[in-house]
Symmetry: C2
Subunit: 431 residues, 2 copies
Amino acid sequence: MGNKTDFLNMNIAELNKHYVSLKERYAEYKNQTMKLDMSRGKPCPEQLELSKSMLDIVTSSDSLKAIDGSDCLNYGGVDGIPEAKELFSQILGVSSNEIIIGGNSSLTLMHDTVSRAMLHGVYGSELPWGKHSTVKFLCPSPGYDRHFAICELSNIEMIAVDMLNDGPDMDAVEKLVSQDDTIKGIWCVPKYSNPDGITYSDQTVDRLANMQTKERDFRVFWDDAYTVHHLTDKPDHLKNILSACKEAGNPDRVFIFTSTSKVTFPGAGVAAMAASVENINYIRKQIAVQTIGPDKINQLRHFRFLKDIDHLRSHMEKHAAIIRPKFEMVLNKLDSELGGKNIATWNKPNGGYFISLNTLDSCAKIVVKMAADAGVTLTPAGATFPYGKDLRDRNIRIAPTFPSLKELEKSIEILCVCIQLASINKILAER
Amino acid sequence: MGNKTDFLNMNIAELNKHYVSLKERYAEYKNQTMKLDMSRGKPCPEQLELSKSMLDIVTSSDSLKAIDGSDCLNYGGVDGIPEAKELFSQILGVSSNEIIIGGNSSLTLMHDTVSRAMLHGVYGSELPWGKHSTVKFLCPSPGYDRHFAICELSNIEMIAVDMLNDGPDMDAVEKLVSQDDTIKGIWCVPKYSNPDGITYSDQTVDRLANMQTKERDFRVFWDDAYTVHHLTDKPDHLKNILSACKEAGNPDRVFIFTSTSKVTFPGAGVAAMAASVENINYIRKQIAVQTIGPDKINQLRHFRFLKDIDHLRSHMEKHAAIIRPKFEMVLNKLDSELGGKNIATWNKPNGGYFISLNTLDSCAKIVVKMAADAGVTLTPAGATFPYGKDLRDRNIRIAPTFPSLKELEKSIEILCVCIQLASINKILAER
C-alpha cells in the first residue's frame, strides 16, 4: 500500500509533472536574487537585545572588586573570580574547585586543551600525545565541524562513529577504545547535539564513564554548549558525567566545556571548563604560563547580570520565546512541503540551535549548491562529518535562529524545492 | 685613591661598626611587621583610575557596530575589528594587514605562537619545531621570567646571552645563530627592557634583521610591551624592526607583540601581534581553528577611549606623571643609601616598569630573603634568568609602580639595608 504522495511510488510521468512545476518555483526564487544565511548557529539581534543591559552594570561608579577583594582591573586570578566559578559550577553541576574560567570562547578552551595534550600530555600521561606516531579521536557524526577542524590542524586521525537516537553508537565506541591504544579522545555534544539535537541517554553517559579503554590517558571532550538552551518547558535531562566518571572509578576521564556565547553575547561572553580537581590542578599550572588571567571585568559583568542558575534559567526562557517560533515554523514547513514524500527525514529537537535533515543518499551537496544559487547559504554539505566527508552525502544542517521569521520561511521553502528537485533527479536517474 | 665611603676600602673594624648599626635598623624594620609587595610590574590604583571612564563608553544605548558594519555582540571577526587594527598599526608602525588582534593578553599571543610553532611550524617551516629532537631559544638576560617559563613548559632549551647597554650581546648572538641550526628563536623586550630598562640601538635592530641564521625558520620574538610607556619627555627611540627585516630581505623573521595591559587595564586590556603579511595569513588560518574571534566589544571600548596614537600619547603622559615620582624616589634613595659604597649598580630607565639592580656577586638571593623576612616581597632572585639561575647571583628587579610612594620609600630603605648587610658579610668572609 504505497502512499500517494510518496515520490518513490510515483511513475515517471508523475515525477516529471512535479519536476516541471518545482522548476518553475525554483526559477522564480532565483529571479528574486535574495541573500539569506542559515549557515551558522548565530543568535539573532532580538536575542542579543536580551543581554544588552549587561553593558550598563559595570561602570566607573560601580565596585570593581571581586568577592575575594581582588581588583578586577588589575593583574591576577589565572582561573577566574570566585563568583564566576560559582555560577558555572551551578550551570555544570560541579564544584567550584573543579572549574577553570577562560576567555570568551569555549572553542579556544577545547583547542588549547588538545594543543596542551599534544605538547605536554594530560594528567597521568606517560608521554605528550604528540610523541606518539598516531593519535586518533572518535567523532560521533554528524557532529560539530569546528571539533573536527581542531583534529585536522593537530594531525589527529578522526574515526567517524554513527550518532543514534540516544547518543553515539556505544557498541562501536566500546569496541574501538578497548582495542586501539592510539585512540586518545572522543568529541561529544551531549545535550541537544550539534546538529542532531539529541541528548545522550543516562545509559550512554554511564557507558562512556565506565567503558574499558586500552589507552590509559583517554579523555572524553564533553562540549556541553547547549546545557541550558531549551526550546520547550519539558527540557531534556542529561546525566552528570563528572559524577558518573567518579562513580565508575575514572574521575579524570572527562573534560567539560561550556560558555555563555548563546546566553549573553557570542562575541563577548565567558567560557569555562570543568574536570576533576587533579585535571584542573594539572591544567591550571600550564595555563599560568599562557596567561596572567582572563578578563575579570567581563566575568564580573556576567555574574552581576546572570546572578545564579534560577535567574539564568528565566533569562534562557526569553531566548526560547524568540527562537521557538522559528524552529516550529521550520518543522511545520518541512512537514507541509516534504511530509509523506519519503525523500527526507529530520529531527525535532527540544533545545539547541539546529535541525538536522537527511535527504536521500547523494543529494545533500547538490541541494546545498542549488540553494546557494537561489541565494540561500547553508552549512556546506559534509561539514558535519570528519574531513568534510559525508559518505552518504545526505546530511544538511539547518540553523534557524539568526534569520527573521520571514526570511527563514522563504529559505526553507527554497530548501524544500531544492530537495524535491534533487530527489526527483536521483529517482529518475535510477529508474 | 680609595673613596672613603667605599665598603671595599674599609677595614674590618669600620665594616663591623657599620654592620652593627645596620643590624639595628634591620631589627627595627622587622619589628614593624610590614607587608609590602614590589614583586611584579603592576600599575597602581591611581593609574587604573585614568582609564575607568572607558567602562562607560560602550553601553546599551551606544552603537555596537564596528566601522565595517559588523555587530560586535555577535560571532565573527577572527583577527579583530578594523578600528582596533588601525590603532595598533599606529602604535607599532606597521600596516593594518600586518596585525592580528588577540584577547586580553600578549603573553597568551606569545605562548600560543610558540605552541603553534612547536605543533605545526611557522610560515616556511619544513617541519613543526616539535619534530626536531632539540629546539633552542636565545634568552638575553636578565630578561622577562614569563618568556623563560614558556620555553620551560615547551621543552625549549634556553641559552642565556648577556644584555649590554644597547641590547643583547650581538657578537654572541650572531655567532650562535650562524652555527647552531637548533636555535629557532630569540626573546627580546626591545624598548625599556624588562628588567634593565634598555632600548635596543638602531645597530642592534639592524644586526638582528640582517644576521645570517643557520636555521631558515628562525624567529625574533619582539615583545614590545613598553613601546609607549615613557617616563620622560625625551623618550628613547626604537628602530622599526619589521621595516628593518624587510630591507634586509628577511621580512618573515620577526613576530611583534604588544598590549594595552599597562595602558588601560592589566586585567581587561587588548593584545595584538604584528608580522609580515605572509606570517599573518599563515597564523590567521590556524587561529581560525582556535577561536571564532576575540572579544570585539572590548576592542570597541578601547578604540573609542584611546582614539588614535596622539590621544594615546597624552594618556600615557598621565601614567608617567603618576609613576615618574616613584622611579625618581627609588633612584634618589638608592643614590643616598648605596651611592659611592661600591656594592651595587643600577640603571636609570627612560621608560618601562623596572629598575634593575646588581649587587656584589652571590648576594641577590640572601638580600631577597632578608627583605622578605622584613616584610618586603621582591621578585625572586634569579627569576630574570633562564631556569631561574643567575650564575652571579646578583640581579634584583625592582618594580616601583604598584606601591604607594610612602610604602615604596620604606621598601627601598629596607632593601638598601639588606644589601649593605649582605655586602659586609660577603666582604668580611673574603678577608
